[in-house]
Symmetry: C2
Subunit: 454 residues, 2 copies
């Protein structure tokens, strides 16, 4: 086959996978309800030059290229198209530099988030972005999907930590964007354009990342509320009073019960909403006390501050297990990612409960409450066509509600295949036209991750 022969001219044999049983396992990320095609070949380059060779070949032969990290994404952005080259960056996994004076790390895209986090910790530094999949997901994937996590309420999202990029363009040319410096405003911000572009503009082969000093270990509290509205009232008060929690998470009754059923953690099974707050400040106990009072004032029936890091970890583990626990409720789940202004969070949660009732579905909600970022998770039986249909429809209702409340269809999971039609609705025709214009500038042949985003 001409494609494979051409690829072989610039890649070692072990970097090219063609056995359909093997390549088939690269067809999907972790999203539900997203179609995936059959790749022609999977390539695993180890150098920038090899990536350039792959892209030159793809351009010459007009073959679509689907870039992949660890395939932990939740929107189908890494799903294969029929006949495509799957370009997996997992073998480019070197940490090239960690510089405590400049507070930067220089990495290849395949580095696992947790590996980088631990490596910079050893230098007294901190790489904040912490998606739930941080032990599996790669920095390149984090950049492609603009990942968030639990830390965002204090530390922001991946985008805020990407200073500069090396990118192999669709035609194989190398582009360097951004900088190693703390500041810089030379020309349009192409770096930021690539963050969240889901591999549709070029292949990230190296990144300069900003680091923070490692904060003190965080201390958490849990507060039980008799309604999600009361918990959201507490969230608004905490933020309006100027607190800077390192984490502010909400679990609804369905989520709490699912975690209890799975892990017997002894969470308060009768509660309607559990709020978790943490501080990594010099005096976290004082901050927790102040936040505990606000929770009580908002109607919390019980407030339990952790006194040790170990107790905190236990509380937070409940939150980290939520999605896994919800996956056990029925045979399938569909996780949403609507972000609303935090002042509208209560309406979002009440509205989601109403949608669950309307469709007769179980929808568990956990939320990065401090950011207004909710993850309604529809639990359904995939073997039941009617329930599957209702699940899909409820998902659309949830996105419509998010937009109605002044929010966005995706806080941190991205668009991929899953939310293409909704992206068009959120952007409107003018925005969509300009986004397509930008895509055309970088990828005039349309070979980079076609069918994603729009």
């Amino acid at each position: 086959m001409d494609l494979i022969a051409r690829l072989r001219a610039g890649l070692p044999g072990e970097a090219i996978l063609t056995d359909p049983d093997v390549t088939g396992s690269y067809a999907n990320d972790m999203a539900s309800f997203c179609e995936a095609g059959t790749p022609a070949v999977v390539v695993l380059p180890r150098t920038v030059e090899q990536v350039q060779h792959i892209m030159r070949t793809a351009t010459e032969l007009r073959v679509p290229v689907v870039p992949q990290g660890a395939r932990t994404g939740l929107s189908g952005a890494a799903n294969a198209s029929d006949g495509c080259i799957v370009l997996s960056l997992v073998k480019m996994d070197r940490i090239i530099e960690i510089n405590p004076v400049d507070r930067i790390a220089v990495v290849e895209p395949g580095v696992i988030n947790a590996v980088l986090s631990r490596a910079v910790n050893a230098h007294g530094l901190y790489y904040p972005p912490d998606p739930s999949s941080w032990e599996q997901c790669s920095i390149g994937g984090n950049i492609g999907t603009a990942s968030g996590g639990l830390c965002c309420v204090k530390y922001g999202v991946t985008a805020e930590y990407v200073l500069g990029l090396d990118i192999v363009l669709a035609d194989g040319r190398l582009l360097t964007t951004g900088r190693r410096t703390a500041k810089g405003v030379a020309g349009y911000d192409l770096t930021r354009l690539f963050v969240g572009s889901e591999g549709s503009l070029g292949i990230v082969v190296r990144a300069v990342l900003a680091l923070k000093p490692e904060p003190p270990e965080q201390l958490a509290l849990a507060a039980e509320f008799p309604s999600t509205a009361a918990a959201c009232e507490a969230v608004c008060e905490i933020m309006a009073r100027g607190h800077a929690p390192s984490l502010l998470e909400l679990m609804d009754r369905t989520s709490v019960r699912a975690v209890n059923d799975m892990a017997q953690m002894g969470l308060p099974d009768t509660t309607e909403a559990l709020l978790l707050a943490a501080f990594d400040t010099p005096e976290p106990a004082a901050d927790l006390a102040a936040v505990g009072e606000l929770c009580t004032a908002a109607g919390a029936t019980q407030v339990v501050p952790a006194e040790t890091a170990a107790e905190s970890d236990l509380l937070l583990q409940a939150r980290r297990l939520t999605l896994t626990a919800l996956e056990r409720v029925k045979s399938a789940t569909m996780i949403d990612d609507v972000c609303v202004p935090r002042s509208r969070l209560a309406e979002m949660l009440d509205g989601t409960a109403a949608i669950a009732e309307k469709y007769g579905l179980t929808i568990g909600v956990c939320a990065h409450a401090g950011d207004g970022n909710t993850h309604p998770t529809v639990c359904f039986d995939a073997a039941d066509p009617d329930e599957s249909r209702r699940a899909r429809e409820s998902f659309d209702d949830i996105m419509a509600l998010g937009l109605h409340l002044g929010g966005t269809i995706t806080g941190e999971h991205g668009v991929g295949v899953l939310k293409k039609e909704w992206l068009a609705r959120e952007l409107g025709p003018v925005g969509l036209e300009l986004q397509r214009g930008i895509k055309q500038v970088f990828d005039p042949l349309g070979i980079l991750n076609p069918g994603k985003l729009f």
Copy 2:
């Protein structure tokens, strides 16, 4: 004249200025060595619809449009072209909303930075970006030039506070980008593309800005050093040890003397470098003590911590007066804005001193040292052609040195007319081609601020 008549069809009479004596005063921002043309007309719209009318007219008649804020910029980005419409946004100066729960402000572009800062302070909130011109400059100008300031070492630049924009495009259509939410990854980040685009992609008519809780009042110290290298060593140690100063500024001997000459502030006239550090933490005195020790270890001959906010203000006033003081040294100044990795700051300062010596010039340097962002300010006699030529050449040497040290030609002042050739050098041909492609998407007729950036 057809242009004026067309403009009158959608603008009140007082919004159109045509008297050449008046319009001539809108020809320039505050940059040196930048040519400016003669505008055909100055328009001062008060509504989005008026801006749309102006842009539709400009598109129909193919007339260039130069957007302007308060014209405090330092790169000529707001300079008029011959026959252009100067579109001044200063009359669109409403603060539309301040929301403490969502921690956002919604503003029109003409709002003065200091006016917004004070307005949000009244709600216990903080809008960090604080360019030296903050009492005069407008938020729209800050967005257009991606302004920085003294706060950046802890709080980052303007770009990090712009969540969403309303933009009137070249053809008069309205584009809404971004969001009101804390997070959001729906499509390419067009918001960020506009920040620092110097009016070359569209007209910002409304902005959603992120706010922070108001921090405690900062407390500062001053440390005298026997060399800039020793002061830079202290800067590196402070940052490597994980400190988070709210300000970390350096003044070289020339700057210190200029301030003393102007304001008789009693600064140590014999010092080679003065370092100013401040903390807005809960216990600033403890942080200052730790930083003071690092300064002493790096060779500081004297360390003076302020004990009150009033003492801090006095120390910081010296820094705020530096540019004004340097402007009194000779008849003209030319201020540069090179940013290097902070680990290279000492080399940047030593190299700048060598350049001053080579050209026989007085170059005072103040620096946002914590960011590696230096402002070498060439003081020269504009009436002396040879000295003017040497000033211009030294300026080029300084930018070349910045790039050589892994830095950028502009940390926060932008490109405008002043650094066009240098932008091309920093970006390289591939980057430049893509930037031009983006410009073409938004402004196919090339009527928006032509001749700026590239």
